[in-house]
Amino acid sequence: MAICEFLPRVFCRFPAISDSSIRDARKVIDDGFKGLVREYGSVIDIIVRPLQWFLNYLERLFTTSPWTVVLIIMLLIVYFGSRSIRITIGTAIGMIFIGIFGLWEDTMTTLAIVTVSTLIAIVIGLPIGILMARSDRIQGVINPVLDVMQTMPSFVYLIPVVVIFGIGKVPGLIAVVIYAVPPMIRLTNLGIRLVDKEVLEAADAFGSSPGQKLWNVQMPLALPTIMAGINQTIMMSLAMVVVASMVGVGGLGRNTLQAINNQFFTFGFLNGFALVAIAIIFDRTSQAFGKRLQRHSEVVHG
């Protein structure tokens, strides 16, 4: 550019670190990381094994049980969760279509991984959310971490996951959990912080210990928000299952990946619709369940 003729070079081209130094730094970090993983490989294995066992067990249970049994149990869960005939019938129709198009087994695999990852996300997210609500300092530390987790492209953290855990179902599961846990944490924190101050004061006035306050007042009153968090977590797991197929997770996600690679238009959309069906079933059921838990707040005295 013309203007650059009158300016020192530094102001025109960004003075980047030289390629060779970047290459060296990268090598050091990558090698160090890989070395660390190699060294603690056996420890990581032991930690991951129960996950692997749980996931495999659930997947086998879902895929090997006769479809009739699975469908009936599923409909029962949906009905007793939502108490809504409409949602139950919708579930039946959705699942039957999935079966007709030959996607039953893949769907079961996906259901298994979503179930496991949601459970893990709740188990991890709930206590962290509670801790965050207890202290502004902890909130100040965790919030930026959650921001990074939510904005970092999901493809990027597949890389360390693969480096540490290799390729397979469990690394995929871990990636899904990392992706799905932030709303659980955030909404648990938010729900507890929004609890009416006067009710908390009443809990104190009657001599509650911190534990009693948590279980008698904070958790029950935060429940609607926490349920919204669980709902979000499920939705995000379903979205991430597709991406996680790149590191070896089976099910509907892998089919979608194949469809992209081979330009199978119809096959891709069928799998997509199956995922949508599952998502709607989960969403409606968990929302109806959450609403039912809040029945007491609906009947307002006029």
């Binding site: 001599g207 009693q212 008698n216």
Partner: protein, 350 residues
């Protein structure tokens, strides 16, 4: 259970990060406005000394911002004092450790809140036994007690309703039942009736007075309503800007208000309901004529008795029925309409 009084001694509360170091300055006359302007600290309470009688209702009255809600929260230490003592049964509540304080709150105090502060996910009966839940008492036992108090506050049949299904007055009955089920000696009522409609408020005052006649708890009642204070209070303390302006019985306050501020308050009061016959009677002259009226009867009630029986004079008697004075209708009416600060206040001072 024997009641104990509550002694508040030299209590200061300053809100702000370095509250303690300003106590001395406030004691030496630094005003609320100056403290706020110069040091960005807020003066909540200044040198409060109140002796709350055992088994009686002490009303703390003041307008919003007078520090009355701050004061009541010092009794169960929901707010930490900056300086001073709150003594109950020989123990300084402000010096208790966490465990002792929790025990004190569980067993000695119960509180009723302005906005009820009920647990929305619990039914009426479950709310009522909340205090006992916290004490670790089994549901089978606590439900029995809770049921009793639900009936006493007039909520039978609503045990399994949720608070949202009840009107404000009924919700506050639940609040009262919850506090009474705790079976604590101290009952703290923080503007408990301020959010209720006037008629329901009077209703709830009656409920409290009836229960108190039998229970004899040490009640601390916060209100901004002088009529409510006069109706309920065995003793009334008036707060303004975090300081006590006047303490005494309702009659003392109505008859001899300490300053213009209280005079302005008292002007609108129905004096006939506050002043007692003995305060304005003339010494007994040996003639028992007219209606017989007990010395502690209010003028309004006395006037009713006299007009109903067609008398213009009455003989005032003590509890035993011995005549102690006489009263005529004219004196009574004069006392009921005379503004405070005149003859009547001199009589009260005697």
């Amino acid at each position: 259970m024997a009641s104990h009084g509550i002694e508040i001694k030299g209590l200061y509360k300053i809100f702000g990060p370095n509250a303690r170091q300003h106590v001395e300055a406030v004691r030496n006359g630094l005003s609320k406005a100056e403290l706020n302007e110069r040091y960005a600290h807020v003066l909540g309470l200044k040198d409060i000394n109140i002796s709350m009688p055992a088994g009686g209702i002490t009303v703390v009255m003041g307008l919003s911002g007078s520090g009355k809600s701050t004061l009541i929260r010092h009794i169960n230490r929901l707010i930490e004092p900056t300086y001073g003592e709150v003594i109950y049964d020989g123990v300084n509540i402000c010096g208790m450790n966490e465990r002792a304080l929790r025990d004190f709150r569980r067993h000695k105090t119960a509180m009723v809140f302005q906005k009820f502060a009920l647990l929305p996910h619990r039914t009426v009966i479950e709310n009522t036994v909340y205090g006992l839940d916290i004490q670790g008492i089994s549901r089978s036992e606590s439900t029995k007690k809770g049921q009793y108090w639900i009936e006493r506050v007039g909520l039978s049949g609503f045990e399994n309703h949720y608070p949202n299904q009840l009107s404000g007055g009924m919700q506050q009955r639940v609040g009262l039942a919850r506090a009474l089920t705790n079976d604590a000696d101290i009952l703290l009522m923080d503007e408990a009736y301020s959010a209720l409609d006037p008629l329901i408020r009077v209703d709830m005052q009656t409920v409290l007075l009836d229960l108190q006649a039998e229970l004899k708890k040490t009640v601390v009642f916060i209100t901004h309503d002088l009529d409510e204070a006069l109706r309920l209070g065995d003793k009334i303390t008036i707060l303004r800007d975090g300081q006590v302006v006047q303490q005494g019985t309702g009659q003392e306050i109505v008859l001899s208000p300490a300053d213009d501020y209280i005079t302005a308050f008292v002007k609108e009061v129905n004096r006939g309901r506050v002043i007692q016959a003995k305060t304005v009677m003339k010494p007994f002259d040996g003639l028992t004529e007219g209606a017989r009226i007990e010395a502690t009867t209010t003028l309004e009630a006395a006037a009713k008795t006299m007009t109903e029986s067609g008398q213009t004079k009455a003989t005032i008697t003590d509890e035993a029925g011995t005549p102690v004075g006489t009263l005529d209708l004219q004196t009574m009416i004069a006392a009921m309409v005379t503004p405070a600060g005149s003859d009547a206040s001199k009589m009260a001072a005697e």
